[in-house]
């Protein structure tokens, strides 16, 4: 091992429900300890005041507190650099003479683990390393020196999906969301203990947070830390190794004093993966960003490029209820404010939500609606994909109406189907006229005869106009079913925005792949594309170029903003990115749809063909009772019955002679430039007796 060592006071204490056992991180322990017997410390710089190796994060300089014990700011000693002592890999890894790289395909799990819900856990392997700088990860240390020493594995979540755990200026939001990103670095989303045996510790960890499968899930990183030293009965009852801590890379520098983090001075029993573990993560200071000396040392990438850590993807669990949310606003996390845990939910399209528990509705009579979003969540409140047929019944309290949706004419009660993780938007309004709805009301969500959520509504004086625009329609033109990587084709997006003053000035589209931002495009005011029937409102459209690097789920999150700066709730559309795809023929029209039997009859067949690679051959086929046979070739060149060249609608004339009255099936088959073919669903041609 080279010079490095870990941290400061991250304490991972073990409070066992059974008690505390030993593992923790700590640092700064004033102990005696026999470091020479632990090869993991070989070559590490020694703290002359303790005789123990310094705790230094791998790849970082030594960071020390000021004389008052506070890291405000930390004292940086660049002459001492941390090496690699611990490496964690997702999965159960067989460790040979070398330490494997981070896993190529991160494992997946379902949030909540297996104790509370029918979720799953992430397998991991922690490997002690000699820190050999000539290798990427060092060599394994297979000796028995660490046997019995607990190692704590901690999981951190990339809540905003920017590919980095913790604050960074390199994401699309720059420094605007750095305070919010402290939620990623300063709080664990799961932790577990494993016990070293021959330099390796394995186990599985449950993670409490997840995101919808349809949104690509939630990326988490796995980290590890352990105190290394002998078990001394006079030191924390002999359950915490008496020595300095070693760790993988971490998204924050933990604090230092084990006396403050180990419950009951470790008077418990043996620490085990199956007993309660007390973990107290106390950041010594918030991770710096673009610091003149340190840079951004704690921001950890989730792409597998950080050598000592690994990652996994966590999906939300089964639907438990529906709840109201609002888009998270980074401005709601002021820089410099004390950091306490704040619920953030990664939803459809990677949109980050916060809980919505109260809403103000203007008591101004008709108009002045307030839009709220209801999303499906699992038992742990993670936004999730609902099962087919999921419904919720909304019940408005006195003075409140559900203005939209309202399909049954009763604005006080509405049963709605919720088919995606994006949930639904509801428009709330007050009853009667101005100033007659009282002070407050509620909107209850009933699910399986139980109350799943209650939104508190405060009636406020107000102008009879919405305070925010609403995206009433968002469509990817042409109804594509996928984005084909082999034939990358920009997509045109159309939005219709409702805002009584017509003062919407901007509609932006944030494109992401599996939640990772790709690009942002401003749509331009315009008119409806030909053939599209749009609801009333301001129309915006634009072409969205993109170059997804791999297969995944592309999401398009649209947000409208008016002249006053009011922003709409995001509306998300998604599109799978695939290597290749067959042509899609979504519908077929026959003109006429009924012909006479006996004589040859003219028939025009038309069908849109959706294909990024370009349809090269489109054929109508007729089933006369013995399978489909070619009927006519369809074209999109403006000739032979095709009205408009290149509009994606393939048309062709045919003459059919069917002797027997009845119903015959017609379909359209298309083939594209890369040899993939697809067919429409059959449509019926009626043949009647003459």
């Amino acid at each position: 091992m080279r010079g490095r060592r870990i941290i400061g006071r991250w304490r991972w204490t073990a409070t066992l429900a059974a008690t505390l056992g030993g593992a923790l991180l700590g640092l700064g322990l004033a102990a005696s300890a026999a470091t020479p017997s632990f090869p993991i410390f070989a070559g590490d710089p020694i703290d002359p005041t303790t005789g123990q190796p310094y705790a230094i994060l791998p790849g970082l300089p030594l960071l020390l507190p000021q004389p008052d014990g506070q890291f405000a700011p930390p004292i940086v000693d660049p002459s001492k650099q941390g090496d690699i002592d611990l490496v964690i890999r997702a999965g159960q890894v067989m460790v040979g003479p070398t330490i494997p790289p981070p896993i190529a395909t991160p494992p997946t799990a379902v949030a909540g683990g297996v104790q509370l819900v029918a979720g799953s856990e992430i397998p991991f392997t922690v490997i002690a390393s000699d820190g050999d700088p000539t290798t990427p990860y060092g060599h394994p240390l297979p000796g028995p020196e660490l046997d019995g020493i607990p190692v704590i594995v901690g999981a951190f979540a990339d809540l905003d999906g920017d590919g980095v755990i913790g604050p960074t200026n390199t994401d699309p939001a720059g420094d605007a969301d750095n305070a919010r990103e402290l939620q990623e670095s300063n709080f664990l989303v799961g932790r577990q203990v494993a016990i070293f045996e021959n330099g390796v510790a394995t186990g599985t960890i449950a993670v409490a947070e997840g995101a919808p499968l349809s949104a690509g899930g939630l990326r988490v990183i796995l980290t590890a830390a352990a105190f290394v030293g002998p078990f001394d009965p006079a030191y924390f009852s002999g359950f915490v190794p008496n020595g300095p801590a070693v760790t993988t890379a971490l998204p924050v520098l933990p604090g230092l004093d084990p006396n403050r983090i180990i419950e009951g001075r470790a008077r418990g029993g043996t620490i085990l993966p199956t007993v309660r573990l007390g973990v107290d993560l106390e950041p010594a200071f918030d991770p710096p960003v673009d610091d003149p000396v340190l840079g951004t040392p704690f921001a950890l990438p989730t792409d597998g490029s950080s050598p000592t850590i690994d990652r996994a993807t966590v999906y939300s669990g089964a639907l438990s209820r529906f709840r109201f949310v609002r888009p998270s606003d980074a401005a709601g996390f002021p820089v410099g404010a004390p950091v306490s845990p704040a619920p953030l939910y990664r939803g459809a399209g990677g949109v980050l939500f916060e809980p919505l528990t109260t809403v103000d509705v203007p008591d101004d009579g008709p108009g002045g609606r307030r839009i709220v979003r209801l999303v499906p969540v699992d038992l742990l409140d993670n936004v999730t994909d609902p099962p087919p047929g999921a419904t919720a019944t909304l019940v408005a309290g006195p003075g409140l109406v559900i203005a939209s949706p309202n399909v049954d004419g009763d604005p006080s009660r509405e049963t709605v189907a919720i088919t995606t993780a994006a949930g639904i938007e509801l428009a709330l309004d007050d009853t009667g006229g101005a100033g007659d709805s009282g002070v407050s009301s509620t909107l209850s969500v009933i699910m399986n005869q139980g109350i799943a959520e209650t939104l508190a509504v405060n009636f406020v004086p107000g102008v009879s106009s919405p305070t925010q625009p609403t995206v009433r329609l968002a469509e990817i033109v042409g109804d594509p079913t996928s984005f084909v990587l082999r034939c990358p084709t920009p997509k045109k997006v159309v939005a219709v925005v409702e805002e009584p003053q017509g003062s919407v000035t901007r509609v932006t589209v944030d494109v992401a792949l599996d939640g990772k931002p790709l690009s942002t495009v401003d749509l331009q005011p315009g008119v409806a594309p030909p053939g599209m029937a749009l609801p009333p409102g301001q129309v915006f459209s634009g072409v969205v170029p993109m170059a997804p690097p791999a297969q995944g789920l592309l999401t398009f999150s649209l947000v409208a903003e008016d002249a006053a700066g009011n922003r709409s709730d995001p509306v998300v559309r998604d599109l799978p990115a695939v290597t290749s795809a067959p042509p899609v023929v979504p519908r077929v029209s026959l003109t006429p749809s009924s012909v006479g039997a006996g004589a040859a009859q003219p028939l025009v067949i038309a069908a849109p063909v959706v294909d990024d690679c370009g349809a090269t051959w489109v054929m109508a086929e007729l089933d006369r009772g013995r399978g489909f046979r070619r009927l006519a070739r369809l074209r999109d060149d403006g000739t032979r019955g095709d009205a408009v060249a290149g509009d994606g609608i393939f048309t062709g004339p045919a003459r059919v002679r069917l002797r027997t009255p009845g119903t015959y099936r017609v379909r359209v088959v298309a083939q594209n430039a890369v040899g993939r073919s697809g067919a429409s669903d059959p449509v019926e041609l009626q043949v009647v007796a003459r």
Binding site: L20, D147, G148, S237, G268, I446, G450
Partner: protein
């Protein structure tokens, strides 16, 4: 087989009578800081702001239970597993005490399917209450039966609408 040193030490201390494994284990600090009742038609629910060992509840089999009761009528929600509803004389004084836990745990019968924990978050629990609960004074309490003894929270009274 080589015993982990911590385990070995625990055994030694246990045999020496100076320290028993788990005997001095810290108990989770359970607390309910607020409770709010909800009603719509015949449906009732309660939401509690709580402090409990959330990550441990997720990772290990941590036997956390929430009880909600009106007089002696109760519903008990294990953190994992179906809810139980019934009546218990142990609750007549308005609190479930350490000595009453064992008896209380044997009382009640499975609750209807819709009676369940709806949300378990680090700082709050939402539960669907049985239809046998009516408007009026209601009490919530958390407890856990652990090897080193029972851990109980404060009781919190609130009005169910």
């Amino acid at each position: 087989m080589r015993l982990p040193r911590a385990s070995l030490l625990g055994i030694v201390l246990f045999l020496a009578g100076t320290f028993s494994v788990h005997a001095a284990a810290t108990k989770p600090a359970l607390a309910i800081t607020s409770g709010v009742g909800e009603s719509t038609g015949d449906a009732r629910a309660a939401v509690f702001e709580v402090s409990f060992d959330f990550l441990n509840a997720v990772q290990v089999a941590y036997p956390l239970q929430l009880i909600v009761f009106q007089g002696t009528h109760f519903v008990r929600y294990p953190a994992s597993g179906p809810a139980v509803v019934g009546d218990s004389a142990e609750l007549a004084d308005g609190v479930l005490s350490d000595a009453e836990v064992a008896t209380f745990m044997s009382e009640g019968s499975p609750a209807p399917a819709g009676v369940r924990i709806v949300t378990m978050a680090p700082d709050h629990l939402r539960v669907a209450l049985p239809s046998s609960f009516t408007a009026g004074a209601t009490v919530g309490e958390l407890f856990a039966t652990l090897a080193e003894g029972n851990a109980l929270s404060n009781t919190l009274s609130f009005s169910l609408p």
